[in-house]
Structure formats: structure tokens, C-alpha cells
Symmetry: C2
Subunit: 247 residues, 2 copies
DNA sequence: AGGCGCTTGTGAAGGCGTGCACAAATCGCG
DNA sequence: CGCGATTTGTGCACGCCTTCACAAGCGCCT
């Protein structure tokens, strides 16, 4: 209902959208919908129902419909959603229609892998620069990119219009790196270092702590162990229904 | 208030606790508190106020107090929390007092890095086995572990009492690997592959998709760009207050 | 043309999580 | 011994998110 602004967005002549400020929870799920849609599209599907897409994305169908309704009315009742159109819309909302330059700081164990991670490039993100503080690593060539010293960060960031930075340094160096990224004009940071970062209010930080995920799983293991200690005693391997407990 | 079961847990003689089912949001924050506490403890702090610990963990102090109150009353009014006692309590609740064996499937780009990630070992998780389907990788030695073929998974999992598995394979192989992990008795899975997994109800799955995090940041970049297009026009680098926008 | 089945979009209700504000409790000091 | 400063633990209200249930809309078949 209400006013629709249908196919005026991606192919538009550059008008600014003014988002209907999506709920944060919805934003976090859009990439998952997008991935599912790409899979379905490659499978030859032309349209997809909310039920089908929800199953492919691992969520409730009602939740999916409400999420998509926040973007506007891009479905057809009785039919479903046009896969290509929906892909286009979500990519537009997420800002994926424009290539986004990313830099990565910290070419250690994890950073090395991130530099070559296929998932970034396939989703439209291009790592354009690698930095490290260790002189021994500067000059090293990783997946086609030469590691530069971190002192060059500011210069390169401006030159390449880098807005997103990834921190893969030890925790002790992360805050200093974040400060340098901010000073270089970066406004979004993905932090893999296990520490809290202080940044200005206009900078977004998302944190990924691999160890935390394992600790959460550990809790559930502990809980399950304390429960199975009471009733059966045996571990119920290969139980029955299928259910994923996501984030 | 209510009944307290104070220092009866970690040093106890093996009684099963029966958790007061913590809110999921609280569980997800406990590892962060734990990390902050370890930092404070190494800094020589004996006790810490909720205000101080909240700052170190990057959360609101009221939220922290409510979270900790769910574990029981381990603080002293007018003083704060005993750092060592709180560490012990949180580690107990998370089940970190017992070493947890972890296996990792998929020794590609990302898996290679995860195998050597320091953060796992330092938090009490020990990767005891690496698997891959590629015969060319079987036999390779990575950080002191030899890569084994995935067909050996079931045998090794039982032998080493592995309850947690990490999937770092391409998306296409992830579901098959998950099935094999479940069949081998694994009841917690950390999935790095960009796909939805179907598992029995008694198995917990947590998903980490690195590309999704970047896409969420991309949305905020897009939003910020469309906002700054209206008022000032210049990017307000180096604004003022410090604020982190976490997960 | 009309009706029927299917699917979207949404109003409303319920649950969960957050943050405020304050009472209860503890320590230190005079 | 009592008082004030300090800090925890929590009742309460608010807002966000999820879920149900259903009306509105669309296409197809007769």
C-alpha cells in the first residue's frame, strides 16, 4: 500500500533515495536473502514465493515478507517475487551496485586468508590495498597485491577512495590502526581483533570475534551435557527433525 | 536475592548445575565480559565496578549488571565485582573449565588461517584434527597437525571425543560435511560457508559469513552517503564524541 | 466474465531486550 | 557506633522484533 516508488531506483538518473530507515534486524538479513536469490536465479528460477525464499534463506516466511515489505512492494500476489527484480532492489539498498574499495590492515595469519577470500570479490568488494606495520612483511606479494607499510595508509586511502577498512591485527595494535583509518577518511570498519574500538560517532564498526562464536557453542554444549545427564544418559545422535539454530 | 548457590560451582565435587536458562543475548555477551576481565586482571585489578567493566567491554553498565545478575550475586555493593571470582564463574557457565576438542573441515584459504588462529587456543579450544576432501591436501602438515582425509572423520571424532566442528569448505560441500559431522556425534557446528545448513534439532549451528558483515557496512555507507548529500556536502572527518556501533 | 485458489502485505498481539531510576547493602571514617 | 559515600541488584516502562492470522490482490481456468 501507500506510495510506491517502483522501478525508479537502480536505473534512475541519480536521484537520492531517502531510505525509509529499515530496522537493523532487517538489514542484517538482506545479504542472506540476496545470496539465496542468487542461488535460485542460477538454478533457473524466474519467480519465487516467500515460502520458498524463506526456506532457502533459513528464516520464517512471515519475517521475510515483512522484511521485504520495508523495501516496497516488489512481489505479485498469487505469484511471488520476481527474482531478478528483487536482486536488483536489494543490491541497490545495500549499496552493492557501486564497487566498494576495501583496505586490509594486518597481514598475519588471519589477514593473509582474508586477503585471498573469494567471498569478498564475488560480492562486489575489492580489496585494493594491504598494510602491515612489520617491515619484514612490507613488499610481500599476496594474491596479486603488494603489502605496503602502514604509514602509507592515509595517502593510499585518499587516492583509492577507500571507505571501508578491515582490521586483522593483534588486539594491542587495533585501536591505533582504527585511529589511523579514521584519520584517513574511512567511515566503516570491520574489526577482527578481540578488543573494543573507540571511534567517532559517524564511523560504523562491526566486530567479528571467531573465539566468541566458539564460546557460545561451548555454552550450549555445557547446557546440553547437563540436561542429558538427567533423563536418558545416552547421546541422542541422529534424532529426527531438521532445525538450524542461527545467530 | 532468592536462593544463592555461591562458591559451590567451579570447585564443587561435580554436581550438575541446572542453569537458570540465561537469555540468549546475555550468553552472547559473556565472552566479551570474560575477555575484558582477563585484560583487567592482567593489569593488576583486584575488583572492578560495573561501570569500569562495562566500559572495558563496550556495553551499558545497567545491561552488564542485569546480565551478571542472571548468573547469581557475585558482586559486593559499594565495592564491585571480584575479578578472579567472576572469571571463574563465567568460565564455568560457558563450560570453558573443561578443554573442548574441536575439528576443522576444509583446509583451504580460510581454513588454513583458522587452523593457526591463536585466539582459539588462548580461549581453551584445541583443534585436534584437520580434514579435507582433496587428496592433494591430505598429509600436509599445518601448524603441527597433519591433514587427514574426510573419510576418517567419524573414526577420529569418536576417538578424540570431538563435540564441536568448524566448517570452512566451499558452500557446495558444506551440507554434506555437516551431515558427516552430525553422524560422527558432533553437536555444535561453526559454519563459515555461505549457505544454510539443515541439522537435527539437538545440534547447534552458528554461522559466520564474512561477506555479510561487509554488506551490512556497505548499507551504512550507502545510507551515510545519501544523507551527507543533503546538508553539508563535505565529509565530517574527525567529528567529535567517541561511540562504537557494535553488532 | 466470473469464480477459485494461491500468495503477498499488514494489523495486532505477544515476547524479548534495553535502559532508567531507585532501594538495598556494604565499606570506610569520624 | 552511626553516618555518608558508593555500588549492586532490580522493578518498571518503553521500544523493537517476531509471529499469527487474515484481508486484499492477482492469475488462471472454466
Amino acid at each position: 500500500m501507500s506510495q510506491q516508488r517502483h522501478g525508479s531506483t537502480p536505473g534512475g538518473t541519480g536521484d537520492v533515495p531517502a531510505f525509509p530507515d529499515l530496522p537493523e534486524a532487517t538489514i542484517a538479513r538482506l545479504p542472506e536473502y540476496l545470496r539465496a536469490l542468487h542461488n535460485l536465479g542460477e538454478g533457473g528460477a524466474d519467480t519465487i514465493s516467500s515460502e520458498g525464499l524463506a526456506a532457502a534463506a533459513g528464516v520464517n516466511s512471515a519475517k521475510l515478507r515483512k522484511d521485504l515489505s520495508h523495501l516496497g512492494s516488489y512481489g505479485t500476489r498469487g505469484v511471488g517475487y520476481d527474482v531478478a527484480l528483487l536482486i536488483e532492489q536489494i543490491e541497490y539498498v545495500l549499496g552493492l551496485d557501486q564497487r566498494r574499495a576495501v583496505c586490509l590492515v594486518g597481514v598475519g595469519n588471519l589477514g593473509h586468508a582474508l586477503a585471498g577470500y573469494d567471498g569478498f570479490a564475488s560480492r562486489g568488494f575489492k580489496i585494493v590495498a594491504l598494510f602491515d606495520a612489520d617491515p619484514a612483511k612490507v613488499g610481500e606479494r599476496i594474491h596479486g597485491l603488494v603489502v605496503r607499510h602502514i604509514d602509507e595508509l592515509s595517502e593510499v586511502a585518499v587516492e583509492e577512495s577507500i571507505a571501508i577498512g578491515v582490521i586483522a591485527t593483534p588486539a594491542g595494535a587495533a585501536q591505533a590502526v582504527a585511529d589511523e583509518l579514521v584519520a584517513a577518511g574511512v567511515t566503516s570498519i570491520l574489526n577482527f581483533a578481540p578488543c573494543v574500538l573507540s571511534v567517532p560517532a559517524n564511523v560504523d564498526v562491526r566486530k567479528v570475534d571467531l573465539a566468541i562464536e566458539l564460546q557460545i557453542l561451548s555454552f550450549h554444549e555445557h547446557r546440553k551435557a547437563s540436561l542429558t545427564a538427567l533423563p536418558g544418559g545416552r547421546s541422542a545422535t541422529g534424532a529426527g527433525t531438521q532445525e538450524a539454530v542461527g545467530s
